[in-house]
């Protein structure tokens, strides 16, 4: 690698098939693909179609003992694992790709490994940083960077080694829209500057289209080449959702249901600014509301969440939007009864109160799960058991349901979400989309009246997206109050009945 530059690489796959050990089904079959030097190709496909397997094969990451590979796959005429010095990789998790504490040192890492003399290293580091549009200098600590900036740095670290083939595996899947934009901008600059052969693997095709020469889709039984000018169908196209229950069809208002104006007068610190926090436009019973609720971490001066009013009504979806750093996730934690607000209050309706206590953060966990279901951004943080079935039974059992009831509920959810074939599988072994569905299912297992979700559609493919949206619409139709924190414009457009923008000036 030092000294000479063999230029962009050529990729050739003929009849490639891969089967993982211990699995009966082939993860990838009959893949034929030729990528000429300097070509830029987007590889798309639904979650579980084999995109990741194809990426691992191209990157030479398949362990011959853990995977059966047939057919032919060559990078510049060599098997991928022998051509690894020709590869530059960019993967999903920025924190699992940076090594050093300073930006320049991290870019230099790959050049040190190649045994380059220090005098040659720094000019190449500076050139790679320039090619990705890095503006912060070499000494910038890597720790405090945003996800998008981290990915940009990882890309520079790959480019510094002058790879013939750049492989990007869903490089924006863990980033918010501005971060994803930053990464695509860096990739665009880099491929223009270097002319490197580029393969991007991503289920979300649209944003990459201006950057690539052609698009192939991984499907069962091989690759499909999309014609020039192809555009993906909008994921909400043709989606038929159960509508929100109209107020007219409500059960007759029971005495326990309070409307916002009555509520304000009964709230514990009522009186001040009476009624001013009522934002909800239509007369649906409010089941959970925050009144001037804000949060500051101990020892900090700027609040993580400025005082915010939100009212969650039964049978309505409320979207919480706004740029990063405005406290969207913190608001979700307050509404979910996981943190106590440091100013203002979060109060549930009387009908949800536990022995007169209306503040969710004071409830015992067993009482909380039957009232408010919460879905975190990373499904793995919430998994507690080694089997899907146990995972779904846990909530009902914890909240005092009998084991027969819990089992029936788990079966029903497994069936409903198409997870029945995996009932005895470990949740960690599921695909990203399956994990997301499972984490929503665990929250629904206790039939809570309120559902709080943090970025539920993050990094999900179109199929999973439609399933999630349908599932949430069903919950709404059944009278659940749904609150979702999201960056996802499409989700807000098709589902939200009300929305709270934390970025907007009060």
């Amino acid at each position: 690698m030092p000294g000479h530059d063999p230029g962009p690489a050529r990729v050739l796959a003929r009849g490639l098939a891969v089967r993982h050990a211990s699995r009966l089904a082939w993860a990838l079959t009959a893949v034929d693909l030729v990528v000429e030097p300097g070509e830029r190709v987007l590889v798309t496909g639904a979650s579980g179609a084999g995109k990741s397997t194809l990426f691992a094969a191209l990157a030479g990451l398949l362990d011959p003992e853990a995977a059966e590979v047939t057919g032919e796959l060559l990078v510049d005429g060599r098997p991928p694992h022998e051509a690894r010095d020709r590869l530059g990789l960019l993967m999903q998790d920025p924190d699992a790709q940076l090594v050093m504490t300073r930006a320049g040192d991290d870019v230099a890492f790959g050049l040190e490994n190649a045994g380059l003399p220090p005098a040659e290293i720094w000019p190449r580091v500076d050139a790679a940083l320039a090619d990705v549009g890095w503006r912060h200098g070499r000494d910038r600590p890597t720790q405090a960077l945003s996800g998008g900036e981290k990915q940009r740095l990882v890309l520079a670290g790959a480019l510094a080694r002058r790879p013939g083939l750049l492989l990007l595996d869903e490089p924006t899947a863990q980033l918010d829209p501005p971060g994803a934009e930053l990464v695509r901008d860096a990739v665009a600059r880099a491929v223009v500057a270097r002319g490197t052969t580029l393969l991007v693997v991503d289920h979300d095709a649209a944003p990459w289209l201006p950057l690539v020469d052609r698009v192939v889709e991984v499907r069962d039984g091989g690759l499909v080449e999309h014609p020039a000018g192809w555009r993906p169908a909008p994921r909400a196209a043709g989606l038929l959702l159960p509508p929100a229950p109209p107020p007219a069809l409500d059960p007759a208002p029971r005495s326990s249901i309070r409307f916002p104006d009555q509520w304000a007068s009964t709230s514990t610190n009522g009186g001040e600014g009476e009624g001013s926090w009522i934002r909800f436009p239509d007369p649906r019973p409010v089941v959970l509301a925050s009144e001037g609720a804000g949060f500051s971490y101990r020892g900090t001066t700027t609040p993580a969440l400025a005082p915010t009013d939100v009212a969650l009504a039964a049978g309505r979806v409320t979207a919480v939007t706004g740029p990063n750093g405005t406290g969207k996730s913190t608001l979700a934690l307050l509404l979910a009864g996981l943190r106590a607000p440091t100013t203002g209050s979060v109060l549930a309706a009387d009908e949800l109160a536990v022995r007169g206590e209306r503040r969710p953060h004071r409830w015992r966990a067993g009482d909380l799960v039957t009232r408010i279901g919460t879905v975190f951004q990373q499904p793995e943080h919430q998994f507690l058991t080694g089997r899907l079935r146990d995972e779904l039974e846990l909530g009902p059992l914890r909240s005092g349901s009998g084991s027969a009831t819990a089992r029936a509920r788990a079966e029903e959810l497994l069936e409903r979400l198409g997870l029945a074939p995996f009932a005895d599988v470990n949740p960690y072994t599921l695909s990203g989309g399956q994990q997301r569905r499972l984490s929503v299912a665990t929250a629904l297992a206790t039939a809570p009246r309120v559902l709080v979700l943090d970025e539920p559609t993050f990094g999900q493919d179109a199929a999973t997206w439609r399933e999630l949206v349908t599932l949430l619409a069903e919950q709404r139709a059944a009278g659940c109050a749904v609150c979702t924190v999201t960056h996802d414009r499409d989700l807000v457009d098709v589902l939200a009945d009300a929305s709270v923008d934390l970025g907007a000036a009060p």
Partner: protein, 253 residues
């Protein structure tokens, strides 16, 4: 709370100009003397010399100093009290034990306060031929520690959403912490696997002899620093012998 765990680049302080290898060597020199004697004068002289270096390591503010050393001070204090109450060391003996612990640990505090982990790894690989697998691998692992701290809180909250909570029961609380720790461990192992893949992809440990872009140079001041440590050690022993308190550990006396 996470401030002491923030493993970013260390701010430049005067002591940063001393090569980490020289600092480690100096620490070994004074440690040998501290381990060789049981009296109170020797560790007192060593600790006094070490305290003189605190400003050079940027540890001038009592609060930052306390933040970095409280576990050490607590440990030393406990040891002294235990020896005073249960042993036959007497007040001076107990004080000597506490001073020895402080004297042994302070060089570590100084090193951490003044040395960027990357510079330490550079020095170890360049001068002492540490395998890069170990030195650079540790650096990569260190980056993940602050992430674990933030994830701990997330996982704890996530358990509450599943109906799992300890309440006031200390046994349940211990089990919960163990469960959270296990979840974190699983996550950390998976992330470490991905990190190893990423490092492999950039040619780490591929059989080519690794170079060092930053380098690590031993200056005259580094030799002076180690020599000064020898002088301090000698002065401590001399003072102790002259004061008649010298009580060597390994000589039957």
């Amino acid at each position: 709370m996470t401030a002491s765990l923030a493993l970013g680049p260390t701010p430049d302080v005067p002591l940063s100009r001393i090569n980490p290898c020289a600092q480690i060597l100096a620490a070994v020199v004074v440690s040998l003397v501290l381990l060789a004697t049981l009296d109170v004068v020797t560790p007192a002289v060593v600790v006094a010399a070490e305290l003189c270096l605190l400003p050079a390591a940027g540890l001038t503010h009592p609060r930052t100093l306390l933040l970095r050393t409280w576990p050490l001070l607590l440990g030393a204090g406990t040891l002294a009290v235990v020896n005073l109450v249960l042993g036959d060391a007497g007040v001076l003996g107990a004080l000597g034990i506490a001073l020895r612990v402080v004297g042994l640990a302070l060089p570590g505090v100084l090193l951490v306060a003044s040395t960027d982990p990357v510079r330490l790894a550079d020095a170890l690989t360049v001068h002492w031929r540490f395998p890069p697998r170990v030195a650079v691998g540790s650096l990569a692992a260190l980056r993940l520690v602050p992430l674990l701290v933030t994830e701990f809180e997330t996982v704890r909250l996530a358990r509450r959403t599943r109906g799992v909570e300890a309440g006031r029961n200390p046994v349940a609380r211990a089990r919960l912490v163990a469960g959270v720790a296990f979840t974190l461990l699983v996550g950390a192992v998976r992330r470490a696997g991905r990190l190893a893949t990423a490092m492999d992809a950039r040619g780490f440990d591929s059989g080519i002899r690794r170079t060092n872009a930053r380098g690590s140079v031993l200056h005259a001041r580094d030799h002076v620093f180690v020599a000064a440590a020898v002088v301090v050690a000698a002065a401590a022993v001399t003072t102790s012998v002259l004061a008649g308190t010298w009580a060597p550990l390994f000589v039957g006396g």
